[in-house]
C-alpha cells in the first residue's frame, strides 16, 4: 500500500501485499488467515470504515469510534452475531411489509426494504440478503405479484447467513422465482428449461459446467411443479417418473435430487465463493483458483454461509489494498451510507424511485444475472444523478423532509465550529482518506457564499464530500 491511506500517517515500511506489483497474488495461507493488527497494518479508522461499508451498509460516527476502541475482532464479533433485539426488529418489519404486499406492484415493499436496511440492528443480514437477491435475480417486472416477491425476499433474508443447501432447495420452488423465470408450468410432455438453465449456469454452478443434455434431463426432474394464483402446486401425474441422467448420476430423480447433485459438484462451492468474493472483497479482478480453493473446500463441507462470510471478513486479504476501494458502491449502498452516517431515516418511497433511476431498482434486477455492478454503475450521467440525489437528501427542500442535518449532528458530537464540523464529515464519510489537494479544494470551496448560515454551508460540504469519486467506492 504505497500511498496507502489505511496506514498510519508516519508511513512505516510498506506492507507485504501493497508492495506487490498488480497481478501478483498473495499466498492463500496468508490471504485467508485472520487479520491481526500490527505495527505495519494497524487497526485504523480507514479499516473500520472499510469493514462497515462492506458488511454493514455504512456506519455512523459512534459506531466508528466504538470500533476503533473495541478493536477489529470485537467489532467483527458484533457484526457477525447481532444483538437479540434484531429478532423483534425483523419481526415488526415483516408485519409492516405484509401489509404493503397486497398489489401487483412491489414499490411499497421496496420502500420498506430500504428502511429496514437503514434501521436494522443486523445490517450484515441485509447486505447478504441483497447479495442473494442479486444472485437469484428475479424481477417483479415479470412476477407482477407483490406477495410472491415478499415471500421470496423474506426467504432470502431467513437463509442469508444460513445453510446454502436449504437456501437453494427453497429457491427452486419459490413461486416468485418460478413466475419470474417463466417456469410456472412444468409439464411431463413439455419439460421447461427456463428455471433449470439459470439454476445450472448462474445460481449453482456457473457457466459452462453442465452440458445442454444435463439441463434437459434436469428439466424432466422438475416436471409436476406448477404455480397457480401465486401458490405452488404439485401435480404428481405431471411428474416424469422415468430415469434421468444428470452430471453422471442416473436415477428417477426429482428436483431435490437435482439440488443434491448440483451441491455435490466441486464447481458449486467454487462458484459461490467467487460470487461472494466479488461482493465482499473485490470486483476488479478474478482471483486465481488456488486462492479460492481452500475456501471452496471448507464451504463444501456443510455449506455454512455464515462461516464463509466470517472467514472472508476476518481475513488479511479483506483488510489489504486488494480489497480497499476495490468495489463501486451500488446506488443503494451510496444512499444507505449517507443516511446511516447522518443518523436519520428519510422518506424511502421516494428514495426507492430515485435509486431506480440511478440503475438499481430493488425487486427489479435487470436480468437473471442481477446487476452487473462495478464500473457499470458509473458514467458521467450517473454521477450527476448521484450528486443531485445527495443534494436532495441533504437539502432543506421538501423532497426529503429535511431529515438529514449534518451541522446538527456535528454539534451533537461536539464539533462545535465549522472547521471541525467539516473535518468530522470528512472522517465520517471517507475516513479523511483523500489526497491533500482534494481536501484543500474541498474545504476552500466551503467559504464560497459567506451569506449562508453555517448549517447551510455544512450541508453543502456534506453534499460535496459524498459526490467525491472516493465516496463512490466501497
Amino acid at each position: 500500500m504505497a500511498n496507502d491511506a489505511m496506514d498510519t500517517p508516519q508511513k512505516p515500511a510498506p506492507d507485504d501485499s501493497g508492495s506487490r506489483p498488480a497481478g501478483d497474488w498473495p499466498e492463500a495461507d496468508w490471504a485467508w488467515a485472520p487479520y491481526e493488527p500490527d505495527q505495519q497494518r494497524p487497526w485504523t479508522l480507514e479499516r473500520a470504515g472499510h469493514l462497515y461499508r462492506r458488511a454493514a451498509l455504512g456506519a455512523n460516527w459512534a459506531q466508528l469510534q466504538l470500533a476503533l476502541s473495541a478493536g477489529c475482532r470485537l467489532t467483527l464479533d458484533k457484526l457477525l452475531r447481532p444483538p437479540p433485539e434484531a429478532l423483534s426488529f425483523n419481526h415488526t418489519y415483516d408485519q409492516y411489509e405484509a401489509s404493503a404486499a397486497g398489489s401487483d406492484s412491489a414499490d411499497a415493499l421496496r420502500a420498506w426494504w430500504l428502511r429496514r436496511m437503514i434501521e436494522s440492528p443486523d445490517p450484515l443480514r441485509e447486505c447478504l440478503t441483497l447479495f442473494w437477491h442479486n444472485h437469484f435475480a428475479v424481477s417483479n417486472g415479470e412476477v407482477k405479484n407483490g406477495r410472491a416477491m415478499l415471500h421470496y425476499v423474506q426467504m432470502l433474508r431467513r437463509n442469508a447467513l444460513g445453510d446454502f443447501r436449504l437456501l437453494l432447495g427453497e429457491m427452486v420452488q419459490s413461486p416468485a422465482v418460478l413466475l419470474g423465470l417463466q417456469a410456472a408450468a412444468n409439464r411431463r410432455a413439455q419439460p421447461n428449461e427456463n428455471l433449470v438453465r439459470p439454476l445450472f449456469e448462474s445460481f449453482a454452478l456457473g457457466p459452462q459446467v453442465a452440458s445442454d443434455e444435463d439441463v434437459h434431463q434436469a428439466a424432466r426432474a422438475f416436471t409436476g411443479l406448477f404455480v397457480f394464483q401465486g401458490r405452488r402446486r404439485e401435480i404428481p401425474r405431471e411428474h416424469d417418473e422415468g430415469v434421468k441422467d444428470i452430471l453422471g448420476q442416473t436415477g428417477n430423480f426429482g428436483r431435490a435430487d437435482v439440488v443434491r447433485i448440483l451441491l455435490e459438484q466441486d464447481a458449486a462451492s467454487r462458484w459461490i465463493v467467487r460470487r461472494l468474493y466479488r461482493w465482499l472483497i473485490s470486483e476488479i479482478d478474478d482471483p486465481p483458483a488456488d486462492l479460492i480453493e481452500p475456501l471452496a473446500k471448507d464451504f463444501a463441507e456443510d455449506y455454512d454461509i455464515l462461516r464463509l462470510t466470517e472467514r472472508m471478513l476476518r481475513s488479511n486479504l479483506f483488510f489489504s489494498d486488494r480489497a480497499y476501494r476495490r468495489r463501486v458502491k451500488s446506488p443503494v449502498e451510496f444512499a444507505c451510507h449517507i443516511i446511516k452516517g447522518l443518523e436519520a431515516t428519510v422518506p424511502t418511497s421516494r428514495l426507492g424511485d430515485q435509486l431506480a433511476r440511478l440503475g438499481q431498482n430493488l425487486y427489479h434486477p435487470p436480468t437473471v444475472k442481477g446487476w452487473a455492478g462495478g464500473r457499470h454503475w458509473i458514467h458521467s450521467a450517473a454521477l450527476t444523478g448521484r450528486a443531485n440525489l445527495a443534494a436532495a437528501l441533504l437539502g432543506e427542500e421538501k423532497a426529503y423532509a429535511d431529515k438529514l442535518d449534518p451541522w446538527h449532528l456535528a454539534q451533537k458530537y461536539l464539533f462545535a465550529d465549522e472547521k471541525s464540523a467539516g473535518q468530522f464529515l470528512l472522517k465520517l464519510f471517507v475516513q479523511d482518506d483523500l489526497d491533500p489537494s482534494t481536501r484543500e479544494t474541498l474545504l476552500q470551496g466551503q467559504d464560497a457564499n459567506p451569506a449562508d448560515s453555517p448549517s447551510e454551508r455544512i450541508r453543502r460540504l456534506a453534499g460535496r464530500i459524498v459526490s467525491l469519486p472516493e465516496f463512490q467506492l466501497a
Partner: protein, 585 residues
C-alpha cells in the same frame, strides 16, 4: 430574520395599545399601503375572530388532546408559555384581553413586490402598545449586550417619527395607537411617504381594490383582496391554471373555475363568523364563463338551473354535486385536453364495446343531463364475511337521464358487459371474479355483483376486493352507479324520498361540495394502521411521529362538523361560498 426576532415581532404584533387621543385621528390603514400590493388582508373585527379562536372551551378542548400534551411538554413550548406569563404580568392582564385590546381596532397585512410584507395594527389601548414595545426593546438590548453585539437599538428619526430595527432587516414604528412593521426598511419608508403625503397613490384609491371592497360588502369580520393580474404571472400559479390541459378529469371539474380566474383582475375574500360557523365568500370580477367558449359546459344556461342538492344517506362522509353538460364537454375535448393519453383511449375503446358502437359524445353522453351527483359514505361490513385489511369508503354517482325509458336498458346492457369483461380479464389473470344478482329494494329491481366468499383465510384481514359490491339501479329518471350494494340501497331510498318531495336545483351553482368531519375522522380511524405505515415510508417518520401526525389530522378533521362549498355565479360575477361549522360544545 432570525428566529428570535421573528418571535419578538410575532408577539409584538399580538399586542398593542391605547390612548384615547390617538383614536380616529389616523386615516384608514389601506391609505398607507402602496397600490402594487399583491395581497391585502384586513381584519376589521379582530374581536370576533379572537372570540372564536381564543374561545375558552375550544382552548380547553385542544389542551386535552394527546398531541397537544406531548407538545406542551417540550422545552421550547414551556419557554414560550413562560414568556406569555411574563408579558401577562407586565401588562397586568391575561393574554386574551391583552390581545383584544392590542389589536381591537384592526389588523392589516399586505404582501407587496420584492418580498416586502407590511403589518399595520391599530390598538385600542395605545398605552399597552407602548408598554409592550418597551418590554421587548429591553429584552433585545439585554440579549445584544449578552452576546456582545453592537447593534443599534436606539430609535432612528424618519420623517419626525421614531423608527426601530431589531435585526437590521425588519423595521417598525409606532404612530399614536398604530404599529407599522415592515419586513424591509424600504417598506416602512413607503408607508411613511404616504403618511406625510409625498406620495398620493395608495391601495385605497386603486379602482380594482375599490371594486373588490364594494363587492365584499360591509358586513364582515375580515377581507382579503388579491391582485390576480400580477399573481397570475407567478409560474406555479400559471402552471396550476393550465394543468387541466393534460388531464380530462381536471378539465371537467375545474375548467369553469380556472377560466373565470384567468379572466379576472381581482379576487375578494370575505370572512364572517356566526356562532360556531365560519363563512367565507370569494368573488372575482371575471365573467363566469364564455357561453360560446369550450368551458361553457359548466354554465347553467337558464337562471333557475344549477346543481341539485346532495342526496342524504347514512354514514355520509362527503358529497359532490355538479352541473356539467357532459355532451358539450366531450365535444370540446380537442380544446380542453389536446393530449391523447393511453387512459383516455382505453376509456373510449371500452365505451365503444359497452355501448355497442354508439357514438360516445352524441349517443351516450348526450343522453345524460347536466345534473351529476357523487356521494361518499363509510361502509358497514357483513360480520358473516369479515372486514377488509384496508377499508375504502363506498362511493356512488347519481346521473339524470334524458330519456330514461329508452336508455335505462342500454345502460343495464353496458353495465353487464362491463362486469363480464372485468370477469374475463380477471379470469385471464387467475383472479376471482364477480357473481351477478338482481335483488329488489323498495320496489326497485337492481343489479349487484359480488365476490365469492369461498376460500377466505382470515376474515379480519380480507383482501381489498371485498370493499366492492358494485351495483346499478334506476329510480325514476335517475341512474345510480354505486361501488357497494348498501350505498345503492340507501340511494334508492333517498331518491324515492326526493320523488315524494321534489328538490329544486340551486340556481346558478355549478359545483357543490359537502363534507362531514366526524364521519371522515371515523374512516381515517378505521384505516389508522394503513395511514401510519404509509406515513412512515412516505415521510420518513418513526412510528410514534407518524401516529402523532395522523392523530393531529383526525383531531382537526373531527373539529369540523360540516363543511360546505358552493361555486357558481351571482349577478354575472364568479363566486364561491365556503361555510365551515365547527364541532364545539
Amino acid at each position: 430574520m432570525s428566529r428570535k426576532s421573528l418571535c419578538v415581532i410575532g408577539l409584538l404584533s399580538l399586542c398593542l395599545g391605547q390612548p384615547l387621543w390617538g383614536q380616529g385621528s389616523l386615516p384608514p390603514a389601506n391609505r398607507w399601503i402602496p397600490p402594487d400590493a399583491l395581497i391585502c388582508l384586513e381584519v376589521s373585527e379582530p374581536r370576533e375572530i379572537l372570540k372564536l379562536l381564543a374561545d375558552k372551551e375550544l382552548s380547553e378542548k385542544i389542551q386535552q388532546m394527546p398531541f397537544y400534551q406531548k407538545q406542551a411538554a417540550s422545552k421550547g413550548f414551556q419557554e414560550f408559555l413562560g414568556m406569555v406569563r411574563i408579558v401577562e404580568a407586565t401588562l397586568g392582564t391575561d393574554w386574551r384581553s391583552a390581545l383584544a385590546r392590542l389589536t381591537g381596532s384592526g389588523i392589516t397585512i399586505a404582501v407587496c413586490p420584492q418580498d416586502t410584507v407590511l403589518l399595520i395594527v391599530d390598538a385600542e389601548d395605545a398605552g399597552m402598545l407602548n408598554q409592550l414595545h418597551d418590554f421587548f426593546l429591553n429584552i433585545a438590548r439585554t440579549e445584544a449586550q449578552k452576546q456582545n453585539r453592537s447593534e443599534s437599538l436606539e430609535p432612528v428619526q424618519l420623517d419626525g417619527i421614531d423608527t426601530w430595527s431589531f435585526d437590521g432587516k425588519e423595521a417598525h414604528a409606532i404612530i399614536s395607537n398604530r404599529l407599522i412593521l415592515a419586513s424591509r426598511p424600504e417598506g416602512l419608508q413607503a408607508v411613511l411617504d404616504r403618511r406625510n403625503g409625498t406620495v398620493t397613490s395608495c391601495l385605497e384609491r386603486l379602482e380594482a381594490y375599490r371594486q373588490a371592497r364594494r363587492a365584499a360588502g360591509a358586513d364582515r369580520a375580515a377581507m382579503v383582496y388579491i391582485n390576480l393580474n400580477v399573481l397570475k404571472q407567478v409560474p406555479a400559479l400559471a402552471g396550476a391554471l393550465d394543468q387541466s390541459k393534460n388531464n380530462p378529469l381536471a378539465a371537467l371539474l375545474f375548467s369553469g373555475i380556472t377560466e373565470s380566474l384567468r379572466a379576472s383582475q381581482w379576487l375578494a375574500l370575505k370572512l364572517r363568523i356566526r356562532e360556531h360557523t365560519l363563512l367565507l365568500n370569494a368573488l372575482a370580477d371575471g365573467r363566469t364563463v364564455d357561453p360560446a367558449g369550450p368551458a361553457a359546459f359548466s354554465l347553467p344556461e337558464e337562471t333557475g338551473q344549477g346543481a341539485l342538492p346532495i342526496c342524504p344517506v347514512p354514514r355520509f362522509i362527503g358529497g359532490f354535486s355538479f352541473y356539467r353538460d357532459l355532451h358539450r364537454f366531450y365535444a370540446a375535448k380537442d380544446d380542453l385536453f389536446p393530449e391523447r393519453t393511453s387512459a383516455l383511449i382505453f376509456f373510449e375503446n371500452m365505451m365503444g364495446i359497452f355501448f355497442s358502437g354508439r357514438d360516445l359524445t352524441d349517443e351516450v353522453l348526450g343522453e345524460i343531463q347536466p345534473e351529476i351527483r357523487l356521494v361518499v359514505a363509510e361502509q358497514q361490513y357483513d360480520p358473516a364475511i369479515g372486514t377488509p385489511q384496508v377499508c375504502y369508503p363506498a362511493f356512488a354517482a347519481v346521473l339524470r337521464l334524458r330519456e330514461p325509458e329508452q336508455f335505462a336498458e342500454v345502460m343495464e346492457e353496458a353495465w353487464q358487459k362491463a362486469l363480464g369483461l372485468i370477469n374475463f380479464t380477471r379470469g385471464q389473470q387467475a383472479l376471482p371474479g364477480l357473481i351477478i344478482d338482481r335483488p329488489e329494494h323498495h320496489q326497485t329491481k337492481f343489479t349487484v355483483a359480488y365476490f365469492s366468499t369461498t376460500g377466505i383465510e382470515d376474515p379480519s384481514r380480507l383482501p381489498e376486493r371485498f370493499n366492492l359490491r358494485p351495483a346499478l339501479a334506476m329510480v325514476g329518471e335517475f341512474l345510480i352507479l354505486s361501488s357497494t350494494e348498501q350505498l345503492a340501497r340507501d340511494l334508492i331510498e333517498a331518491l324515492d324520498a326526493e320523488r315524494q318531495r321534489p328538490v329544486r336545483p340551486m340556481a346558478q351553482v355549478h359545483s357543490l361540495v359537502e363534507i362531514d368531519g366526524g364521519q371522515l375522522a371515523s374512516i381515517l380511524k378505521a384505516n389508522y394502521q394503513t395511514f401510519v405505515r404509509k406515513n412512515m415510508v412516505d415521510e420518513g417518520k418513526t412510528q410514534e411521529q407518524a401516529e402523532a401526525a395522523i392523530d393531529v389530522l383526525i383531531t382537526l378533521v373531527g373539529l369540523i362538523d360540516r363543511l360546505r362549498l358552493e361555486v357558481g355565479s351571482r349577478r354575472g360575477l364568479a363566486r364561491a361560498d365556503l361555510e365551515v361549522r365547527l364541532n364545539l360544545p
